[in-house]
């Protein structure tokens, strides 16, 4: 079951799609800032040789946080992908837990250090991300939604993926299946305009990914993924419809990719200097900060304090992770098969 955190918001008790409260907006900012600072830190760790691979969420944070607000952590299912750092923070994972993942330490969430960070599963907290094979998680979300429907559970499955993932055959098969069976699933595309180096125009011949929904007969919407509230509203509407038996929705959250694909990537090979400069204007973090400052929900001092607090949290998580051992070697052969079967 999902842990109680300030972010939780038990939506089953508040079924009407109320707009985000001022507290929720402020908390969104804190999560976004924490995600950003964590992201920057693990990038630095990578350069020091302490985190072999890091995929950044910079630019994606607002849509990830908005989507979590719209769902119910106690009963919905979150089928995430490797870029969902802010999603995990919003779901209540602590920085300390996530840091274990980056450094492949014992007790790391999802895989105990067997997979890249964010790969694996944590069923107790309703998170699944079997692998980092693009699009392969999409049918799993549809299957979970099928189970919810068969069991008459009021749960919704959301599945996150990138723009590139929409080209895969399994994406198509899954969306079509969900459409035919009117399943409670939300296809959540974090469109950052690139699949590693491949720009959208080489990925598909249309401007909008949400137009694909018309090919399946369910609604498709495009939202500004740098806007927490807009994303929240779109996902909330889709979730309400799904819970009422209205079937799937495809949501395209348009975001900038503020960093290279991963720490392994050198994006100067395929993005111009102007483009690298231009994208900064679409950064959701300063935008939300300004909104809060303008609305009197944040002061410059409060911001600095919050930043210091986040950094302290990250420092502590790092120290804790570094003193945590790698997985126990005696577990190497565990979990190849479930117990009742012979190896």
């Amino acid at each position: 079951m999902a842990r109680k955190t300030p972010v939780a918001g038990n939506h089953s008790e508040a079924p009407s799609a109320a707009p985000l409260s001022a507290e929720q907006v402020a908390e969104s900012y804190r999560l976004m800032l924490l995600s950003r600072l964590l992201d920057e830190r693990v990038y630095a760790l990578n350069r020091q040789g302490k985190a072999p691979i890091v995929a950044s969420a910079q630019g994606h944070e607002a849509c990830q946080i908005g989507a979590v607000w719209a769902l119910d952590k106690t009963r919905d299912l979150f089928v995430i992908y490797y870029r969902d750092i802010a999603t995990c923070l919003a779901l209540g994972y602590s920085v300390s837990e996530l840091m274990l993942g980056y450094m492949a330490r014992r007790g790391a969430p999802f895989s105990g250090g067997r997979q890249f960070p964010y790969g694996g599963a944590d069923l107790k907290r309703r998170v699944i991300n079997t692998s980092n094979v693009v699009a392969s998680q999409i049918p799993h979300a549809v299957g979970a939604a099928l189970a919810f429907k068969m069991r008459r559970e009021p749960s919704v499955a959301i599945v996150h993926f990138g723009d590139g993932a929409t080209s895969e055959g399994e994406t198509h098969e899954s969306m079509n299946f969900a459409a035919v069976h009117k399943l409670p699933v939300i296809f959540f595309c974090e469109n950052n305009g690139y699949a590693i180096s491949v720009p959208l125009r080489k990925q598909l011949a249309m401007a909008r990914i949400s137009d694909r929904a018309a090919a399946y007969g369910f609604p498709g919407v495009t939202v500004d993924g740098t806007d927490v509230a807009a994303t929240y509203r779109a996902v909330r509407e889709a979730a309400d419809r799904a819970r009422e038996g209205g079937g799937p929705t495809l949501i395209e959250a348009v975001v900038p990719r503020l960093m290279a694909h991963t720490t392994d990537d050198d994006e100067r090979r395929y993005r111009t200097a102007e483009e690298l400069e231009e994208r900064k204007r679409r950064d959701p973090l300063p935008r939300l900060r300004q909104t809060l400052l303008d609305g009197g929900l944040l002061t410059a001092d409060g911001d600095s304090a919050m930043r210091r607090q986040c950094i302290a949290e990250i420092d502590q998580a790092m120290a804790a992770a570094e003193s945590t051992p790698y997985p126990d070697e005696s577990t190497f052969y565990d979990h190849v098969y479930a117990p009742q079967a012979k190896k």
Binding site: D122, T130, V133, A147, M150, A338
Partner: protein, 327 residues
């Protein structure tokens, strides 16, 4: 005990399990209204309803991927791939995802999924309705691959597969569906996955096989017995995990091993059986470990004369037994 065919045994196992456990459901192409192209699920949609007997869109990767997702959250799906020739689109889900999900989540995920698929030749199916696939899949850690030969084993093994928390690829030889009959209890019983079965005890040599070939091997063994060659016929039943204990015990007794399967020779299950024997029963061997397998051509041709060249039969097996016994 009542006598049933393999297809009846499969149908009975599924029906009993669906009655016993409402987490069990069936999905695949034509499994609903039509009852499956081989009628494995005849009458199911009437008994269990459209929700538990799903006619899916024509999309194999989704059949397995969606079933897997349902299994991850507690269901126990049976996914039917209409013919093994059409199983290749599921490899990413079955080999890439499902078989690794438990290991990759450090034990958090279970994927109690059964993928059933009719396979094999000798049915005038040509290149695309005659294929075997076990030589491809048995290499996958995390997966169990079962190939029953008799109605009794089919029912008991399918029940074990459905109740099992591991993903199972359950391969049913099409030619056994209606041609092979045998005694099958009406009630509940299981046959353990991972256990080979000595279908004929013998002393002169050990013949390892599975699926349709078991029946031809038993015929061949009966024939050569007339010449005093006493063949032990071991039905592997599960090709992953292989039951090396039973395999090695048999070879230690007979000192000679012949492996027979319909699937292509190179890299087939027989390669691993031979490797296990030659590594772990070396001292016991009196003769080369020998394989008699499907030829290394891409698949079974449609023309009946070429199909016959591909298929093994009693005579080809008897000749191989005689040759090995005479070594």
């Amino acid at each position: 005990m009542p006598v049933k065919t393999v297809i009846e045994a499969v149908r009975e196992a599924m029906r009993e399990e669906m009655r016993r456990d409402d987490r069990v459901f069936l999905m695949g192409e034509d499994v609903g209204q039509r009852g499956g192209v081989f009628l494995a699920s005849q009458g199911f949609i009437e008994e269990f309803g459209e929700e538990r007997v799903l006619d899916t869109p024509l999309a194999e990767a989704a059949i397995v991927g969606v079933a897997a997702g349902a299994a991850m959250v507690g269901m126990r799906p049976i996914a039917e791939i209409q013919f093994t020739d059409f199983i290749w689109p599921i490899v990413n889900q079955l080999v890439g995802e499902v078989a690794r999900a438990r290991y990759g989540s450090n034990g958090a995920l279970s994927v109690p999924l059964v993928v059933r698929s009719p396979y094999g030749g000798g049915v005038h199916g040509g290149l695309y309705h005659s294929q075997s696939c076990e030589g491809f899949f048995y290499h996958t850690p995390g997966l169990q691959v079962v190939c029953p030969a008799t109605p009794y084993d089919a029912k008991g093994l399918l029940k074990s597969a459905i109740r099992n928390d591991n993903p199972v690829l359950f391969l049913e030889h099409k030619r056994t569906y209606r041609h092979v009959k045998g005694e099958v209890p009406d009630g509940d019983y299981t046959v353990p996955i991972g256990k080979a079965d000595v279908k004929r005890a013998g002393t002169r040599l050990s013949l390892f096989t599975y699926g349709l070939m078991l029946h031809y091997a038993l015929e061949a063994a009966a024939e050569v017995a007339a010449d005093g060659i006493d063949t032990e016929v071991v039905d592997l039943r599960t090709v992953r995990p292989l039951d090396s204990e039973t395999i090695l015990a048999s070879v230690r007794k007979t000192s000679r091993a012949l492996i027979v399967h319909e699937d292509n020779l190179t890299g087939g299950v027989g390669a691993e059986v031979a490797a296990i024997i030659s590594e772990h029963a070396f001292d016991a061997l009196d003769a080369p470990v020998t394989r008699l397998c499907g030829p290394d051509v891409p698949a079974m041709p449609f023309a009946p004369n070429l199909e016959a060249m591909f298929m093994l039969n009693k005579d080809k097996i008897a000749a191989a037994i005689r040759k090995l016994a005479a070594y």
